[in-house]
């Protein structure tokens, strides 16, 4: 991850923070999940991450994240499922 990537991610996060002051509340979680996805693909492109389980999680997020606009319940279920997977990953990484 080079300095240019870091500046872009910082810009995205700060712009999202500013946007969240005026935008629908549900956009907050969406921006956080998007940040995770952006970060993952930068690291993947750099060869700094290759865990297939993490990639599956990111793919699941990218596939379902827009349900926040149409089906909030589905969106929440997706986040809960991702957390469940992340717990397994955290435990297995010890």
């Amino acid at each position: 991850m080079n300095e240019s990537d870091i500046v872009k991610i910082f810009s995205y996060i700060v712009t999202s923070a500013r946007g969240c002051m005026d935008e629908p509340k549900i956009y907050g979680p969406l921006r956080l999940l998007n940040t995770m996805s952006k970060l993952f693909y930068i690291l993947k492109d750099d060869g700094e991450i290759s865990n297939k389980e993490i990639e599956k999680i990111v793919e699941k997020i990218d596939e379902k994240k827009f349900s926040c606009k149409t089906d909030e319940e589905e969106f929440i279920i997706m986040i809960d499922e991702v957390i469940d997977k992340l717990v397994e990953l955290v435990q297995s990484s010890k």
Binding site: V7, K8, S11, Y12, T15, S16, R18, G19, E23, Y27, R31, N34, F66, T70
Partner: protein
Amino acid sequence: MLSGIINVILKRRSIRNFKQEEVPKEVLLKLVEAARWAPSGSNIQPWYFIIVNNKDILEQIDSFSPGLLGRPPSIVVFCSDKRMAFEKGGKIGKEVLYLMDIAMAAENLMLQATKERMGTCAVRSFNVMAVKKILELPEHISPELIVSIGYAVKEVKSPVKRTLEEISFFNKWGGEVK
């Protein structure tokens, strides 16, 4: 059997995942030509259309546009000229009409893009100050809406829409349409 303009209207979807395939310049200009012919209050046309297909500028705008998703190969930034809107349209021109004009122009562009088998998405989640600086816009020109343009990775299913009976009435509030 659906045909004509309604077919195009029903096919349009908000696309948030694009193929990394450039949109030819002449196609982009054709889309902007459709936008140019949108209705405009008092025919003021207080708009400017900035077509961005330069990768470096796209990346810069992307960094300050959380709503711009799926790495579109091109965007059109719909800008307003509020000075012109006020000078020719007065208070209502400056406060209301210019936004309606922009919205109608954007829909024209998106429908033309749909007809050209391309995907679009109207985006307002961007930082106005940042985009203005990146595009070197004059003080009185403001970016109001970004429309991403490209070829969709996959088809998007139809969203749920409120029914005609629910949202429309004949002659007065509550007048049944059936």
